[in-house]
């Protein structure tokens, strides 16, 4: 019994230590972003701000210069939203359709196709840069938000298809057969039978894709036009654009702003993520 209490204490001690270690940078960023430059210069790194100010946040959002534009992160943040939301939705929906076709409408070569898609998950970003640039140029959507959306959809498909295939493979084939006998076709079955039971895996896909696409820097810097740059690229420019003194507080605020949406998605939908990953097959 006593032994048990000791080991339990030790366990919590370690867990709290790990949590503190993980949260420390977050704390430093947050407190720094609320300090004035003077306070940063004089005080310690981990001390709480004694006169909190939201000035750095306002500047990061609205007036800070990244490159030649001095409008803060706001326009780029909107760019990111405009690019991420369609890309996430399209790649998730198409992935769901792919997964459905690969599991319940097997065709000659469908297993090969799936294997090929799996390989797609392991292709590093860098490999697709040049071919993709040429393709976008040929189609005439380079340097635009459409091009960027297209790249993210294509790159994300391998993952979303994999997610949905592994989920749908647990759905009994007789469900689809019954619907076919009832007179339903490919899309009716997808919409009426499969989609209503796809909630958990949908959440997984959306979270995964949102995180990937929002946080992406490389595709953004390569494929976006100057007026469609995502917030990650702008953040980089903002931090590196210095006019005299380095404004750490503004940099920190900007970094938090850029990370906020993914944080929010995790906080709101995190529990679905775990639930979706562990959700079992559907029993009729």
């Amino acid at each position: 019994m006593a032994m048990n209490r000791v080991s339990r204490f030790f366990l919590y001690f370690m867990l709290i230590l790990a949590a503190l270690y993980a949260l420390a940078p977050m704390w430093v960023m947050l407190s720094t972003s609320l300090k004035t430059l003077d306070e940063i210069r004089e005080g310690s790194l981990i001390a709480a701000p004694h006169a909190p100010t939201i000035e750095p946040w306002l500047k990061a959002w609205g007036t800070a210069c990244s490159g030649v534009r001095c409008e803060g992160l706001k326009p780029f943040f909107l760019n990111s939203l405009l690019m991420t939301i369609p890309a996430v939705l399209i790649s998730t929906l198409v992935g769901a359709l792919n997964g459905y076709a690969l599991t319940h409408w097997r065709f000659r070569g469908s297993d090969f196709l799936f294997t090929a898609l799996l390989v797609g998950c392991f292709i590093p970003f860098q490999v697709v840069l040049l071919p993709m640039a040429r393709l976008l140029g040929a189609v005439g959507i380079s340097d635009s938000v459409f091009g960027l959306i297209f790249v993210h959809v294509v790159y994300g498909l391998a993952f979303t298809t994999l997610f949905f295939r592994n989920y749908y493979i647990g759905v009994p084939g007789e469900l689809v057969k019954a619907a076919r006998v009832d007179g339903a076709g490919f899309f009716t079955i997808f919409q009426r039978i499969l989609l209503p039971i796809s909630g958990p895996i949908f959440m997984v896909c959306v979270i995964w894709q949102f995180t990937q696409i929002w946080n992406d820097f490389l595709f953004g810097v390569v494929f976006a036009g100057s007026d469609s740059q995502p917030v990650t690229v702008a953040l980089n420019n903002l931090v590196r654009t210095s006019t005299g003194v380095k404004e750490y507080n503004v940099d920190m605020a900007a970094a938090i702003i850029a990370a906020l949406p993914t944080l929010l998605v995790y906080i709101v939908a995190g529990k679905y993520f775990v639930r979706g990953l562990t959700a079992g097959a559907v029993k009729g």
Partner: protein
């Protein structure tokens, strides 16, 4: 409504397993076909092929005289009950039943009436607003049944539709199905493991084994004139006794000689009444070994016997009262046999006088296991 033709159907699954090896079945418009056979013999596969859910490797399926091999399921006008029920998990019972109707553009009011009708028939009225996950196995099975019965298709396909119901409900549902079939006259293919369902519902029975139809005929033919020992053993409960015997021919009359009792000390000659020499297989000569097939009810007590018969006194190994009958286990020809007697006939003796109705017997060739002789009708 339509006839159903299955001609030389073969099925090889992509993994290379040949599941059906040339099936031939023809049933007329409005007939009720029962498919029976051991687990894994290909019954569900055959139903799936009739429905158009599995491709046909070879052969032809026709509905109403028209080849349907390449017709998709929705154009075959079929309603099916799946072995695993396959209820749509996100829909309520009501929506499950309505799904097929609304896809076929049945007017709303008519849908409501149909749902009410099948719900009453299947005693699922209180369940209409539940989801499948909130139902018991037997309730799910009735919903699956309701989904099929809501329509009046060309052909019904039922894959063990009553297997999960309690005994009372099963009897009720069985007669409902029979009544419904009588009323609507829809061609039906019905898979079952239940002997009584097979005998009472079927116009025709097909007994399958390892992807081959062993016998296809009326219940009466299957029961009384099984073509081989597999069919003889499969239909009927308890199954037909297969007694090792020796054929003997005396004065142009046929006899089966068997040993009696566990010690095989006694030998008797049973006259095979009604068997004609002229119709006998050429291998069946004097002294040839045969299997004498006798149903338990043809080994019975003197009070129940009727018709041509031989008498036999045998020691009882074990008696099992089942209510209406008492089954006794005896040893004939060195194997365990079962006789069906009136309970009063089995007193506390260890011996019983049996009447053997040899005119209902079937002779099998032990080497091929095929039937070689039946009594003349």
């Amino acid at each position: 409504m339509a006839s159903l033709g299955i001609h030389n159907i073969r099925k090889v699954y992509p993994n290379g397993v040949e599941v059906l090896k040339g099936i031939n079945l023809d049933i007329a418009d409005g007939e009720f076909l029962i498919l029976v056979g051991g687990s894994g013999c290909g019954k569900s596969t055959l139903l799936n092929m009739i429905a158009g859910l599995e491709t046909v490797t070879e052969g032809e399926i026709s509905i109403g005289g028209k080849r349907v091999n390449d017709l998709p399921p929705k154009d075959r006008d079929i309603a099916m009950v799946f072995q695993s029920y396959a209820l749509y998990p996100s829909m309520s019972v009501r929506q499950n039943i309505a799904f097929g109707l609304s896809l076929r553009k049945v007017p709303k009011a008519e849908q409501e009436a149909t749902i009410a009708r099948v719900a009453k028939l299947l005693q699922i009225e209180p369940l209409l607003d539940r989801k499948p996950a909130q139902l018991s196995g037997g309730q799910r099975q009735r919903v699956a049944m309701g989904r099929a019965l809501a329509r009046e298709p060309q052909i019904f396909l039922f894959d063990e539709p009553l297997s999960n119901l309690d005994a009372k409900l099963r009897v009720e549902m069985r007669s409902e199905i029979k009544l419904l079939h009588k009323r609507l006259g829809i061609t039906t293919v019905y898979v079952t493991h239940d002997q009584i369902e097979a005998m009472t519902l079927g116009d025709k029975i097909a007994v399958m084994k390892d992807g081959v139809v062993q016998q296809f005929g009326t219940p009466d033919e299957i029961y009384n004139r099984p073509v081989n020992t597999f069919v003889a053993g499969f239909m009927g409960s308890p199954p037909m006794n297969l007694i090792p015997a020796t054929l003997s021919i005396n004065d142009g009359k046929l006899y089966a000689e068997i040993t009696v009792g566990p010690t095989a000390a006694k030998r008797v000659q049973l006259p095979l009444v009604g068997f004609e020499m002229s119709r006998l297989h050429e291998r069946m000569v004097d002294g040839a070994p045969v299997l004498l097939g006798l149903r338990p009810e043809h080994l019975t007590d003197t009070g129940r016997s009727k018709g041509a018969a031989a008498n036999l006194t045998v020691p009882i190994d074990l008696a099992e009262p089942t209510g209406a009958d008492t089954l006794i286990f005896i040893t004939l020809g060195g194997v365990r046999c079962i006789a069906r007697l009136h309970p009063a006939a089995v007193a506390a003796h260890d011996e019983v006088d049996l009447v053997v109705d040899t005119s209902a017997a079937v002779l099998f060739d032990p080497s091929t296991q095929n039937a070689v002789a039946f009594a003349a009708d």
